[in-house]
Symmetry: C2
Subunit: 253 residues, 2 copies
């Protein structure tokens, strides 16, 4: 699936196809800001852990939903705790909810899992295409960087594509808090309109757009558009990164 | 299950049982602020709708998780849309994710469902006990008030227990954003320490505590504590409202 939506379409019932993508048609954006978790690397690789502990691999999605929700919760409340520690606590919380024993070995395994997820198979092709087209590539992730070893991106063999890696850990506020996105633009000393967020999560594209970025959604399994007219829709939508890359390259010309 | 946790225990690995509940032992709190959805009224009443549309009642929990997460998302992004409209859009989003057709009749039914959920069976007994003990009772809900008819609380036959009903709609910011909790204390002209949040969701107790409230968690099915030492735990925990009422009455003396 590929479709294009008008940028800044916060109010209208714009058609989801065959529109020129405003904001990506005038030489901008020049900088692509990539989310990492699920966008570039594959959370489904942790399914066997959830199958083993809970007897049901679908609990992975439940855990991931809680992980995003509680990262937003603590940010709204003005608190902070690192992503992996939060993920480990939530695994224990889900154990209580499902009446399943979660051991120290399980929580250690999920921490290791979050650090060592493989790249989605379409990612290398897409990143190569975008780098060749002259885009500057950076990342902005909810995960802390380099916690005593290689980052998730290094583990996945993708780090060499990016000129900078940013983590929300530097501002102690999770996406979609504005100061996460502003961290990137302020650090690079560029205006938000130069930046295009690439994410598999709509909450990430909405946050970026609210800070003046344009944004594209990769509709990986479990992700879709939210048809509420008053809320921003992604400027571009594709089912994989090469598809999004082709749109970006086409509309930028 | 009943257990009591020290108030303000943000850092220690405090035992979860047999502790005196600080902050509820000195004549305070005098005002109990009740969450409504799931805390007082029963979302499981919408299971048949999800069974019919998705062939799986468990999709209700997935929808509810998305509803909370996207209410936090739009608040973080500085945006706002009413709770029921968001819920209707998310039903369509889940239809796309699951490859299921969601009709206008389905979205109208979920709006009606959100307005007309029944009270949990333990609630009337618990509220009566707390009112008799002299607590002032108010509500603070993510739902808009009285959208052209009776509020969810009136439908559930519970409205007469409360001296005031507050909605986040008045501040266009969803819980756990601080200005939702501050709406109550500022409107009542009381300090946060006079207020005790009663909720079935940990993200709600965490938000309230971060604003200076004390708070109690009702661990209805699907809800549990989050064992992360740096994050606030509820001051009181019980599996139903009468259990929480008994603790509040005991510790306030």
């Amino acid at each position: 699936m590929e479709c294009v939506v008008m940028a800044g379409d916060h109010n209208g019932a714009a058609p989801m196809n065959d529109e020129i993508a405003h904001g990506v048609a005038h030489g901008e954006p020049s900088i692509l800001v990539f989310d990492v978790n699920e966008t570039l690397i594959d959370f489904e690789s942790m399914n066997p852990l959830f199958q083993r502990v809970f007897g049901d691999a679908r609990v992975m999605r439940e855990w991931l939903g809680h992980l995003f929700m509680y990262s937003m919760t603590i940010t709204a409340a003005g608190l902070y705790e690192q992503f992996f520690t939060l993920g480990q606590g939530l695994l224990r919380m889900l154990g209580d909810i499902h009446g399943v024993k979660v051991t120290d070995s399980d929580t250690e395994q999920i921490r290791r899992g979050m650090l060592t997820m493989p790249a989605h198979p379409d990612v290398e092709v897409g990143l190569t295409r975008l780098a060749d087209a002259g885009f500057r590539l950076v990342t902005l992730t909810n995960s802390p960087l380099d916690p005593g070893g290689r980052s998730p991106l290094e583990h996945a063999g993708l780090a060499h594509f990016f000129e900078r890696q940013f983590s929300v850990d530097a501002v102690r506020a999770y996406k979609p808090a504005p100061r996460a996105y502003h961290l990137v633009t302020q650090s690079l000393r560029v205006p938000p309109a130069s930046c295009f967020m690439v994410a598999a999560h709509l909450w990430d594209t909405m946050g970026a757009q609210s800070c003046g970025y344009t944004a594209g959604l990769i509709t990986r399994p479990g992700n879709a558009l939210l048809p509420v007219e008053s809320l921003p829709r992604p400027n571009l939508v594709a089912s994989d990164l090469p598809g999004l890359a082709d749109q970006l390259i086409r509309f930028r010309r």
